[in-house]
């Protein structure tokens, strides 16, 4: 390592980890497109399964949108640390003089921007497809922004725990789904309340609290879980 890099600060390490993964994601656009495509396709399945009645679809739209958001985050989080684990860079991170939690958070943030954040931005399109009333769309975006933060962090814990296990995909869903229940409930309730003209703000505030709490607690768990996986 050149001398100029030896006095890397914690912020610098975080930023470097973030930008490394952000670049990796940009260079393979399929990584970004896949979750959105998945979302798009699963949304298409619901009118086919439930019938095209706009009234009924609009009624169910908050629940459908949130369940599909949860599923797509489940799909993404399986791959979160996989390449780092396989090419050995995770071991290098583990012996770096910085907390693994912070470095992992850098990677998770990059992934969240490419998945959860984009999903929240694109969500009005999907909402219109299901005929969600316009009053709910802004709340849907905000709730997805906050909610995907939790989903991604919890998913990262699951991914860190199962990264060393072959065919850990099913196991990952078993680990993560029960932990994601509150996010799903708060998210759907916020959107439904907004559609019905009720008080969505308090639910969004709860989601914000959940997101901040996860941001404080989950990186520690991610770091500990990654160390366990490296010992395996």
């Amino acid at each position: 390592m050149p001398a100029s890099e030896s006095n890397l600060t914690l912020h610098g390490a975080f930023a470097r980890q973030f930008s490394r993964h952000a670049r990796a994601i940009i260079r393979s656009p399929a990584e970004v497109a896949n979750p959105l495509l998945f979302f798009f396709m699963v949304i298409t399945l619901f009118p086919l399964g439930l019938g095209p009645d706009p009234q009924r679809l609009a009624e169910m739209a908050p629940g459908i949108l949130w369940v599909v958001a949860l599923l797509s985050s489940l799909m993404v989080s399986g791959k979160l640390f996989a390449s780092d684990y396989e090419d050995g860079s995770l071991e290098q991170l583990a012996i770096a003089p910085f907390p693994l939690a912070v470095l992992a958070l850098g990677e998770v943030s990059a992934y969240w921007l490419a998945t959860g954040f984009l999903l929240a931005l694109a969500s009005p399109i999907f909402a219109l497809m299901l005929g969600l009333p316009a009053t709910g769309i802004f709340t849907l975006m905000v709730s997805l922004l906050l909610g995907t933060t939790c989903l991604t962090l919890i998913g990262a814990v699951g991914s860190a725990l199962t990264v060393s296990i072959r065919r850990g995909g099913m196991l990952l869903s078993l680990l993560i789904i029960p932990l994601n229940v509150p996010v799903l409930i708060f998210g759907t309730t916020a959107v439904s309340e907004a559609v019905m003209g009720g008080n969505a703000t308090s639910w969004l505030a709860l989601m914000g609290a959940l997101a901040l709490g996860s941001l404080a607690v989950m990186p520690v768990a991610i770091g500990a879980a990654l160390r366990v996986s490296l010992d395996q």
Partner: protein, 245 residues
């Protein structure tokens, strides 16, 4: 204090200690279960609204109570295992998970059986039932994660991380399910007379809860002993113990 903890961490000591404990606890458990079952099923008066069908409460409530407490036992063992790296805590955690899962499953099944005559349906998306179902998933996740790892000491630490994350989450899950239910509550179903339980029904219930705690302790201890015996199957102290008695 520290010497006790230190001793607890030693497999030979624990094996001998738990052997003595099980000898006492097992007959006590059987007695409590028998007395509680006879009292609850035969002596306690029938409920004026539900008749005799309410008697399943003497299985349903104790298993649900102990299943919940079991998760906290597991979380505590997980924290000890992560912080002090005590092997015995790993063994405890591993022993609790299947017992807790079984108790949760019993609570769910007896609840369904109870629901049929009382509510007219096997399954209702009630707040408590849903929370118990999620608890079952949490337990199964720990069991499955333990089985998936080949290196068992890594498995124990992975499960410890998972249970601690779960413990932070459990109050949030319960609260959110509660709110979810109160928002969607169907008007026709209502749990009546739960807090105003008559002493003649309450005492056998408390006895059964005690019996289930003992049952939980015995099962976990036996589970731990089986695990220890397998891990140390070539150790000389184990051979001495088995041949000596």
């Amino acid at each position: 204090m520290w010497t006790i903890i230190h001793k607890m961490g030693s497999p030979p000591w624990f094996f001998r200690f738990s052997g003595g404990l099980v000898k006492w606890l097992l007959p006590l458990t059987v007695c409590l279960l028998l007395v509680g079952a006879v009292w609850g099923l035969l002596i306690a008066p029938p409920d004026f609204r539900q008749g005799n069908s309410y008697r399943i409460i003497y299985i349903h409530v104790p298993s649900a109570v102990v299943a919940l407490a079991g998760y906290y036992v597991m979380a505590f063992a997980g924290a000890v295992s992560l912080v002090w790296r005590i092997k015995m805590a790993d063994v405890t955690m591993r022993a609790v998970a299947p017992v807790g899962a079984a108790l949760t499953a019993i609570a769910l099944v007896t609840g369904a059986i109870w629901g049929k005559p009382t509510w007219g349906t096997w399954w209702v998306w009630d707040a408590r039932i849903t929370s118990m179902l999620i608890l079952l998933f949490l337990y199964l996740g720990v069991v499955a994660l333990f089985e998936a790892y080949e290196n068992k000491s890594a498995a124990a630490r992975a499960c410890a991380v998972l249970t601690l994350v779960g413990t932070v989450n459990i109050p949030i899950i319960y609260k959110s399910v509660d709110w979810w239910y109160s928002l969607h509550q169907p008007a026709s179903i209502k749990f009546t007379g739960e807090s105003a339980i008559d002493p003649s029904m309450l005492y056998p219930l408390l006895l059964m809860i005690g019996a289930f705690y003992c049952l939980f302790a015995v099962t976990v201890l036996l589970n731990m002993r089986a695990e220890l015996a397998w891990n140390h199957r070539d150790a000389s102290w184990l051979k001495q113990l088995v041949q000596g008695t």
